[in-house]
Symmetry: C2
Subunit: 385 residues, 2 copies
């Protein structure tokens, strides 16, 4: 299996991009990535996206984007795995390069959510849950996560404030991120006094709805120095599934897909959680962050709050969590989120993260979840120089 590098990346700010279409957003991110390197061709384009069919009346966006950026006759297709679409696209792109079938692969993600009118966007996002056994009964993502958060506080006697404190940390980080949708600091009270969405989840426990596009360029590791002075190796990558219905799970407080994907990625990279210096994790809600930190091995079960209060997850802590601000503050353009994460970790490991930079980051991890944990993609990257 060929080793695979990320040689370049490009991001748009996550925002309400009323005046830019899907292809224009993607084009902006692609152009930034291509401007950084000199490559002879783009052999494949793989793009993560979930909601274009519903909210932009558009499928077949692999072909559209290949056309828009002038890459015809390249191979191009879309990968969809709900909010994990970006992570799944990265895995698919990885196998394309690792196999030897393709040399230079653009893996991107793009999502436009704000064009949907309120309910329309919520309904479209709901299609990541089980239409027949969850949506039909009126469940939404926030209500399913509220069940988990209630259960967590009941089982571990965790104070409500601990979840608020995670949101505070995310906004503190995101305030330094030029690509963040909500780049401002908040206080514990901002969270606790915000509107209840599905008790106990408050508005500031939730990632916002936004538009954005992100791109990374992959090539064989051995070719990377030809194209770029700053690249990272993807040394571990995997995906795993769990039951789609939250109601079918043995334990509401454990994301089995994250546990499995994490273990496989650590094994492939020959690493453990202790080797990770910086991670971008999938904090759709503050409860999702708590479970993810524990299931990736960064915190003991039921103790994310204790470790957080010790500074473990702050920039420069034992493992810097979401220096980008995470989904909470950077934003969550669903099918693009996994690619934002990959680009952000590339930035950190190549020391180009500017005010977000954490010191001495040699190894980074991304975790991208689809549905309420029905699938998770994990990738581990390492600095090459």
């Amino acid at each position: 299996m060929r080793k695979v590098a990320i040689i370049s990346y490009g991001l748009t700010k996550v925002d309400k991009h009323w005046n830019k279409s899907l292809r224009e957003l993607f084009g902006e991110a692609a152009k930034k990535a291509l401007n950084e390197i000199e490559i002879p061709s783009i052999d494949a384009i793989i793009v993560g996206n979930m909601c274009a069919s519903d909210l932009s009346d558009q499928n077949n966006i692999g072909s559209i984007l290949a056309d828009y950026i002038g890459a015809i006759p390249t191979t191009a297709y879309r990968v969809e795995s709900a909010c994990g679409s970006g992570g799944a696209a990265l895995l698919s792109g990885f196998t394309c390069v690792a196999s030897g079938m393709f040399d230079i692969v653009m893996v991107g993600g793009v999502e436009k959510l704000t064009d949907g009118i309120g309910k329309e966007t919520t309904y479209s996002l709901g299609k990541a849950a089980d239409a027949e056994y969850e949506l039909f009964y009126g469940s939404s993502f926030v209500s399913l996560n509220a069940l988990m958060m209630n259960r967590y506080m009941h089982v571990y006697k965790t104070p409500r404030e601990a979840f608020a404190d995670f949101a505070v940390l995310m906004h503190k980080n995101g305030a330094k991120n030029p690509y963040a949708q909500l780049p401002f600091e908040i206080s514990r009270e901002t969270v606790l006094n915000s509107e209840t969405i599905a008790d106990p989840i408050k508005l500031y426990d939730c990632a916002p709805v936004g538009d954005g596009a992100a791109v990374v360029i992959l090539c064989p590791l051995e070719d990377a120095p030809k194209y770029s002075d700053t690249f990272v190796e993807i040394c571990g990558i995997s995906g795993a599934t769990d039951t789609i219905n939250v109601s079918s799970r043995e334990d509401l407080l454990s994301l089995k897909s994250t546990i499995t994907a994490g273990m496989k990625a650590y094994k492939m990279a020959k690493m453990s959680p202790a080797d990770i210096d910086v991670a971008e994790i999938h904090d759709t809600f503050t409860i999702t962050a708590a479970l993810s930190l524990e299931d990736l091995g960064f915190a003991e079960k039921g103790k994310f709050d204790k470790m957080m209060s010790e500074g473990t997850f702050e920039p420069g802590g034992i493992v810097s969590i979401n220096p980008s601000g995470g989904l909470k503050s950077r934003g969550h353009p669903v099918g693009a989120t996994g690619i934002y994460q990959a680009a952000e970790i590339s930035m950190q490991l190549t020391e180009r993260a500017d005010k977000m930079q954490v010191p001495n980051a040699e190894v980074g991890l991304i975790q991208n979840i689809g549905g309420s944990g029905s699938n998770t993609y994990v990738a581990i990257m390492r600095r090459c120089r």
Copy 2:
């Protein structure tokens, strides 16, 4: 790069499956494929689908199908490239096995179209075209293909009847296919006297709308004998794009994505069109068949009708075209079509095609188109014993 085999397949009849959901249809095909072999695990599931979001309110179907067939915690994601989704899923599955990342990969396609109420299905299928530059102006797939058919008849002076004769051949073949949606013979007059859909395209020039699921199981070629006595090698595979807008093409009568994908697949397999004994091509409309036959190198440009009248494409002819009946008679469950084709060629090469069997089929080809030729996937398979 590891060599890749197809060791098993499963199909449902293409039909109006009112009483079966997406997951049930997929499960039926998966069960048939799994019943034929003994395998230790399913390491990944990759599924082609286009319209589930619109017509079944469901995204994230990789996870749903993994859950339904009991394959958790396998890796699972959806691939979408409009009507080429199945071909794109096959390519993605191929790279998964070829890379060494995964050993046993289930590649499937599933589509439920008849649940949509008339206009709803047509609108959903239209999202394979360009929403901003084609759909917005009222184009539909049939109207875009009608432009091509008019142009073809004008340039090559081809009689209208030649297109009807292709449909007649497809129905003659499909009448022998137990999985076909329209398994009955028709006459030239059936086509010519059928309703006009978009002049000059008549009802019987069009593939029908139907539901179906298909599955193939891939593994490294060297492991194939452990799991199955009847397997084929995928010896060439590729995908390519063209402009999404038909209006942007230099030549309306040439599917550049098919030409490029074909050339790449032939090169990878070290073969030429003359080596192909049997092919399943993407005849959405009779004009699509004409262009495809020519662009794959099975007929000279403008002369598909002459070669057809010489029996070139009949079962046992120089190259047997669509012994399944093709999209026209077997049916076209959009995101599953490419996988039907792969299963049908596997059947032919392992001599299990029963009444559809063509004699001495050693090498087969599939061609799966997305949009009006905006992308094409081609795979070449060879008999292993």
